[in-house]
Symmetry: C2
Subunit: 195 residues, 2 copies
DNA sequence: TCCTTCACAATGCACTCGCATGGTAAACAG
DNA sequence: CTGTTTACCATGCGAGTGCATTGTGAAGGA
């Protein structure tokens, strides 16, 4: 047996280099050579771990998704409302880290329109995201914090779409982070208003 | 004076070819050669009307914006509510034409993250779009169709972000056109509910 | 010791890219 | 007619692309 290497660590390292490149130059600023340079490795290594560029990009997207998911999962589980709020704010470019993720994420969103495997990733992931929101909404409903007449699934759709729709205006500077948080809080306040 | 040519017509023709290419292959599927081929002209002509590729892409985005704006402006001016609804549905991929526009628009949205001139276009355009929604909401308020306690500017933000957030899930097939329309109508119905 | 296997590295290839260059044809002014 | 201006076309260049190929060194099993 030859050298022992942590494959997953290498792949993560490369995926992060890809994300940094997308953040800096956009999706078409990503070339195998630049990825290798950004990761501080040779181009041969990149090819060793990813057979094609498509695989590399897909891995970068998966890595992004798991990072965000982990952060949401690590949010304090206090009240359904707080968890819901945290789950929304994690998607919005409120600080450097989330701004980075939002920029990269938007590039992949656009890619998914013309790349079937990328679209498939979103298509399978979306139900889980919506179920998360709907679940918190239903829990709040059970606790009597939200009118029972509301449909959690529909409210989850509105909430998620609303949050997603805030991303781009925030990225180009139309809304400040404070304005984004305020907009979200006003929306939540209305949901959690007494019937 | 040499040959007389309709410059704007030529530029529009090229801009539409660019949009078709973006729809088919995404933003990085656009090359000067392919644009020329898609437009049925020589590559030299493309260069004659656009000094750089960036200019060409920017023209394609402007052309897209004016097309959508014209359609919204042509909507029946019945009630504020109907106009508001029409103004939202025009942005959503409910039929082939709007689906085409949404796909192209999303590509430019992603580009605006890394291309300053593109971002500038969105940044200057957004206030007008939001003002359109806020204006219709205020009119409905004046007519007593919407609770006076609501803030038109905030509701415009929510409405527009919500609509924008529906675009991508609809594009990848998570929501059918009917589901999209229903979601919008449910949101509107709540706004227009008696206080 | 040999030999296989894995982990890379280096190079080369065929292709595409945006753009610059240089030419030609047509239309009108003089 | 000549000259100038505009509208194009064809070609070429240098740079960069993804990927295939080949080579090399190290780590263990037999």
């Amino acid at each position: 047996m030859p050298k022992i290497v942590d494959h997953e660590a290498r792949r993560r390292h490369l995926a992060e280099a890809v994300q940094r490149l997308i953040d800096a130059k956009g999706m078409d600023g990503v070339s195998l050579r630049e990825v290798a340079a950004a990761a501080g490795v040779s181009m041969g290594l990149v090819q060793h771990y990813f057979a094609t560029k498509d695989e590399l990009l897909l891995a970068a997207l998966r890595h992004l998704n798991t990072r965000i998911s982990l952060r949401v999962a690590a949010a304090p589980q206090d009240s359904p409302r707080a968890l819901l709020r945290a789950g929304i704010l994690e998607l919005l470019p409120l600080d450097d880290e989330r701004r980075f993720e939002a920029r990269v994420g938007l590039a992949f969103l656009a890619r998914s329109v013309v790349d079937a495997p990328t679209a498939e990733l979103y298509r399978t992931g979306l139900p889980y995201v919506l179920a998360f929101y709907a679940g918190r909404l239903a829990a709040a409903q059970a606790a009597g914090e939200i009118p029972a007449a509301l449909d959690p699934a529909h409210e989850a759709t509105v909430l998620f779409a609303f949050a997603q729709g805030l991303v781009h205006p925030a990225l180009i500077g139309h809304y400040s982070p404070d304005e984004v948080v305020n907009a979200v809080d006003r929306h939540l306040a209305r949901l959690f208003a007494p019937a």
